[in-house]
């Protein structure tokens, strides 16, 4: 691993089954400014953002922990699945938000809906965002102490007696399961890109 932590993401590990209890974050429309405040966007590397995750919600100005915030409850330590409300990750496109969640230890985020750019960004770092129906999300909020199993291959979230199927693009699924580097994948289609550029010629459209 290099000093700036880049290779950690490039050699993205294949996504394995996850089994964990949940951390319930019961707030709708959480924006990426909250997930990672702007003062931490000045760094030029990809790693080490976990310490700054939800910074203003986790820490008092003197650096002490805010006990009321869910992530600071010791019983939730080490859990790998974040449970969220509607429109999680809205606002700024900063991928630092996903780097922070990943670095903190989250592998899966379960929610009823996600903001588009955030949802895309998740896959690049190997965090799996899963959209579930509202009643399933409600059930999970009521059972966050139970272990859930996330099986990407079968596209299932298993909890208690429930086994909930979720949707995912086949291409994204393949990328995650095999830990593929997306740019390397796209470069295989260099011929198609060159052909497109040639057809287009000098014109813009």
């Amino acid at each position: 691993m290099s000093e700036n932590g880049y290779e950690k993401f490039l050699d993205m590990k294949a996504f394995k089954k996850v089994r964990s209890q949940l951390i319930p974050l019961d707030i709708a429309n959480v924006d990426t400014d909250q997930i990672i405040p702007k003062q931490f966007l000045k760094l030029v590397q990809k790693s080490g953002y976990g310490n700054y995750l939800f910074y203003d919600w986790r820490f008092n100005p003197d650096g002490s922990l805010k006990n009321v915030f869910v992530l600071n409850n010791p019983k939730y330590a080490g859990r790998e699945v974040l449970l969220v409300r509607e429109n999680f990750g809205c606002g700024s496109s900063r991928e630092h938000a996903v780097w922070a969640l990943f670095d903190y230890g989250f592998k899966v985020i379960l929610g009823p809906s996600f903001a588009d750019i955030f949802y895309n960004n998740c896959f690049k770092t190997g965090v799996l965002p899963i959209i579930l129906r509202r009643n399933d999300i409600e059930h999970l909020f009521n059972n966050s102490e139970n272990f859930v199993e996330i099986d990407l291959m079968e596209q299932r979230v298993n909890v208690n007696e429930r086994s909930i199927r979720f949707q995912i693009d086949p291409m994204r699924k393949k990328m995650l399961l095999e830990g593929l580097d997306e740019i390397g994948f796209t470069l295989q289609f260099g011929v198609h890109i060159a052909r497109y550029e040639k057809q287009k010629g000098k014109g813009i459209i």
Partner: protein, 478 residues
């Protein structure tokens, strides 16, 4: 088949579809060609680092431009940058652009400015194109009839190397805006888009590209249309889109990168005939908005859907949530953060700071309109007010017509261009507890500074509030 404007731009840019490669039936994402790529200092360093680590190269540096905007100081440019980390990020951008042959408008350039202000200003933004940038407000460029959208840093790297991006085709959402504003100076594009977000919510546009049209849109200038498209992302939309017309074509003439003479005329001919939705094109959803009785809009909470008319009171959480328990919780939290009581008339809210700027409202027209309110008046002694032009060009043009004098005489700070207090990555931030009338786009917790409180308004509303020291109905002033 009848197609939307978005369908047409999309179809023109598909390089390959993932279902052709993976042999499955799901639509999946398509590889879309990117005609224009904009870079800035904050979301690009890790992308360049990735390219270096893998011995890759930038495919089309000729289709890429960069500027320094997010954390540049807006005070005297001859002074050194004090913040070492910001300085490193700016130097990293310069180094990367030099290494990969990318045109950079850096802090000393006469063309420096907010990336979404300079793209159009330079004629880099053109109708019918696809435009990507590692910034969510890339939706701004949709005002030209371009499919323009924000991307993350990994995607910035992907575009640099391949000039393409994998994206699942978003749905189409039509917002038809009709009616006649009672006063064009006081009821602005900002009020129209805030009112739309109030109606459809911060997730109302998720998964879609919004096409705005209707007589109200036709009457808006290009700069005003940019304000509308800019905030599409605040409704969650992937992009905003407005079909180009004569206003658009006239705007393009004579700009640095836009096509010239006969070539431009040919393109205009093509754009005029092709870049519009077919009459019976199907949208996944559509709504109608009427602006006949629209009033100036003011946000009261911590997301851009928490909006009321300036004549109204701060709502009670249940009134805002309309039966949605999660939204009600968010509203309770927002009121606590903003330290305002439900039922308070908006016009009784006192303010400490005023910020006129950001990629939403920092263009010449915004400053001209704000100056109409300010001329001959003085900023309230309790308020610190600043104007941050969107670009060096905007600043120069404004100074040519004496706007700087009007602002300065009124007691405003007249600053250098950049993103500034829209997100407070540079030294322009709110102090703990300060309340700001801001022409920017996000009123999120801490956005303009730790525990700072932001109310989003139009430039004329911000200007009038600066004078009065509290929110006022600017219709009584103009």
């Amino acid at each position: 088949m009848q197609r939307t404007l978005f369908d047409k731009i999309w179809d023109n840019h598909v390089v390959i579809k993932s279902n052709q490669i993976l042999k499955h039936n799901d639509d999946g994402p398509s590889l879309i060609y990117i005609d224009r790529h904009l870079l800035h200092e904050v979301t690009s360093p890790q992308a360049f680092e990735g390219i270096r680590q893998n011995n890759r190269f930038v495919r089309r540096s000729d289709l890429t431009i960069a500027t320094a905007d997010h954390n540049v100081p807006t005070n005297d440019r001859s002074l050194p940058i004090i913040d070492e980390v910001s300085k490193t990020q700016l130097e990293t951008l310069s180094k990367n652009c030099k290494e990969f042959g990318i045109t950079l408008f850096d802090i000393d350039s006469p063309n420096q400015g907010i990336v979404h202000v300079i793209g159009p200003e330079l004629g880099f933004t053109l109708p019918g194109t696809t435009i990507a940038c590692g910034d969510s407000h890339t939706s701004t460029h949709g005002a030209f009839g371009a499919f323009a959208f924000g991307i993350g840093t990994s995607e910035v790297e992907h575009v640099l190397v391949t000039q393409c991006i994998w994206i699942r085709k978003p749905e189409s959402f039509l917002i038809n805006i009709e009616g006649t504003r009672r006063n064009r100076h006081t009821i602005t594009a900002k009020d129209i888009i805030l009112n739309i977000i109030r109606k459809i919510g911060v997730g109302g546009g998720n998964g879609s590209v919004i096409e705005y049209r209707g007589n109200t849109i036709s009457e808006l200038s290009i700069e005003q249309r940019m304000t509308i498209c800019n905030m599409s992302i605040e409704a969650g939309a992937r992009a905003g889109l407005i079909a180009p017309d004569n206003n658009t074509f006239n705007y393009l003439r004579g700009r640095k990168y836009s096509p010239k003479d006969a070539e431009l005329n040919d393109m205009i001919e093509y754009w005029r005939n092709n870049l519009k939705s077919d009459p019976n094109a199907k949208f996944h959803k559509s709504i109608n908005i009427n602006v006949d009785s629209l009033a100036p809009q003011v946000t009261w909470g911590t997301n851009p859907s928490m909006v009321v008319d300036v004549t109204e009171n701060v709502p009670f959480p249940d009134e805002f949530a309309k039966g949605n328990g999660n939204e009600e919780k968010v509203a309770i939290r927002a009121l606590e953060y903003m330290d305002i009581k439900p039922g308070t008339p908006i016009t009784e809210i006192m303010i400490d700071r005023v910020f006129i700027g950001s990629c939403t409202n920092s263009r010449l027209e915004d400053l001209v309109e704000a100056a109409l309110v300010i001329k001959g008046r003085k900023v309230s002694p309790n308020v610190r007010a600043m104007v941050v032009p969107g670009s060096q060009q905007v600043k120069k043009e404004a100074e040519k017509i004496g706007l700087d004098q009007i602002f300065k005489e009124a007691g405003f700070e007249w600053r250098e261009s950049g993103c500034s207090m829209c997100l407070g990555m540079n030294p322009d931030i709110l102090s703990v507890g300060e309340r700001c009338a801001s022409t920017s786009n996000r009123n999120f917790e801490g956005r303009q500074g730790f525990k700072g409180r932001t109310h989003l308004v139009s430039p004329v509303m911000a200007a009038a509030s600066a004078i009065a020291g509290h929110f006022v109905d600017v219709r009584e002033w103009l």
